[in-house]
Symmetry: C2
Subunit: 228 residues, 2 copies
DNA sequence: TCTCAGAATTAGTCAACACTAAAATCTGGA
DNA sequence: TCCAGATTTTAGTGTTGACTAATTCTGAGA
């Protein structure tokens, strides 16, 4: 029985590494050392050392110079952290007056401190939500998660109506900017005009026309309004 | 500017030491090294090392071989942790269905992770309570706290009515035992008979007579029913 | 006053995790 | 195929905070 299976004596650092590597490795890809280092704001050397330790604990698969992937156990831990994070965000927004732009940092610390009991009580109090305030899906307690196919608004064609499903951003200023313009998960938008050379995009949202920059549009993840 | 004043980069360990030393040093007393070690379940040598570090950070006053006391800054930190702990306990019991016997461990972890913002939101949601589910007073945000004079039920005379003000215990089984018998903060009790040689104590509580052991009675902190 | 048991401290390790600097390895063009 | 630059790993350090073992101090009783 190794440390990962016994209880959960995982450190904060380990939990953060696993969560980050999960994010960086969709569909069986590998995460590079410096990619992880950049995401966690650490030196590549530190990451290299931690990767070795996590491999020994069977939380990562790692071939030197070839990048790292989560093992099943590592993925289980990562998804548990993501469930915690998103449920905590949902709870704080729903019941304690947090706004979606300030809730991330709080959840980032709490996710390492809450018990399973507390997480499930919060989930129950909210009626077991399936997505968080940013539209991100909340993994189920058994670790399963359905990820809807989404496309950044910046890459969508004009003329058709789409709905914003997720907002892939943590930057508080950007999130406030979006909220002020009504660019929230669940909202339907139509692209009216797109200027060339990565220029501004004109959209219609609730009968109102707006112009947004491509940098902003990149974070608005959409699906065709009819789908789901 | 030292670490204690800048932001609050205090570690979990440091916060736990300060909280424990606060508890062990009422009225200007000093806490001995092994006393602290026992309270934190650490070796005396470890505590000795930490005491030295905390003295250098001006969180403790320490004369070698003479015990340690909190500085004003150390006491400030300790009271902040106690406020957090007791507000978290109150919140979890009031809104998330925790019982007073299970809430301690959860609060013990969360108190190191919550922001001031979250603590104050919880306080506001509860209407700024002044005591927690065990009857312990909650320090105000400015660090002030009024400690009522209380006496263990085991040391009270017979015949007079007292009210239970605080329950000085963390042990979940003991707390459940007390709750089942209605021995809760705010309840009025009268001692009917006390058997000698540290024997059982007969009390009346809400018209019902009960017999409790002296070990249990020691944790019931009372004041004369009329006071306050 | 002396002695000695108990309390406290110091000395020396260890593990987790971070860092910089240096060495090793991989990879994409010439 | 070979080399240069990028990526990754190793080597060596530092800090925090725990440990055991050895040493030193204190205070109470003879």
């Amino acid at each position: 029985m190794n440390a990962a299976q016994a209880g959960d004596s995982l450190t904060r650092s380990v939990e953060d590494y696993l969560k980050t590597i999960y994010r960086l490795t969709p569909e069986g890809r590998s995460a590079g050392t410096s990619e992880i280092a950049q995401a966690l704001d650490l030196s590549p050397a530190s990451v290299s050392g931690m990767i070795k330790r996590l491999s020994e604990q069977r939380l990562l698969d790692h071939a030197p110079y070839r990048g790292a992937q989560l093992t099943d156990e590592g993925r289980r831990v990562a998804l548990r952290m993501i469930r915690r994070h998103r449920l905590i965000e949902s709870y704080l927004v729903a019941t304690l007056g947090y706004s979606w732009d300030t809730v991330h940092d709080e959840a980032e610390r709490l996710e390492h401190a809450v018990s399973d009991t507390l997480v499930e009580r919060m989930a129950a109090a909210l009626g077991h939500p399936t997505s968080d305030p940013h539209g991100d899906p909340i993994p189920a307690a058994d670790g399963s998660m359905v990820e809807e196919d989404v496309v950044p608004l910046s890459e969508l064609p004009s003329g058709i109506e789409f709905s914003i499903r997720r907002v892939g951003a943590e930057n508080p200023e950007l999130l406030r900017h979006l909220a002020e313009r009504g660019l929230l998960p669940g909202v339907a938008v139509t692209i009216l005009e797109r200027q060339p050379f990565n220029g501004p995009i004109t959209i219609r949202l609730a009968e109102v026309e707006q112009v947004i920059g491509p940098e902003v549009a990149r974070h608005l993840l959409c699906a065709t309004a009819g789908s789901e």
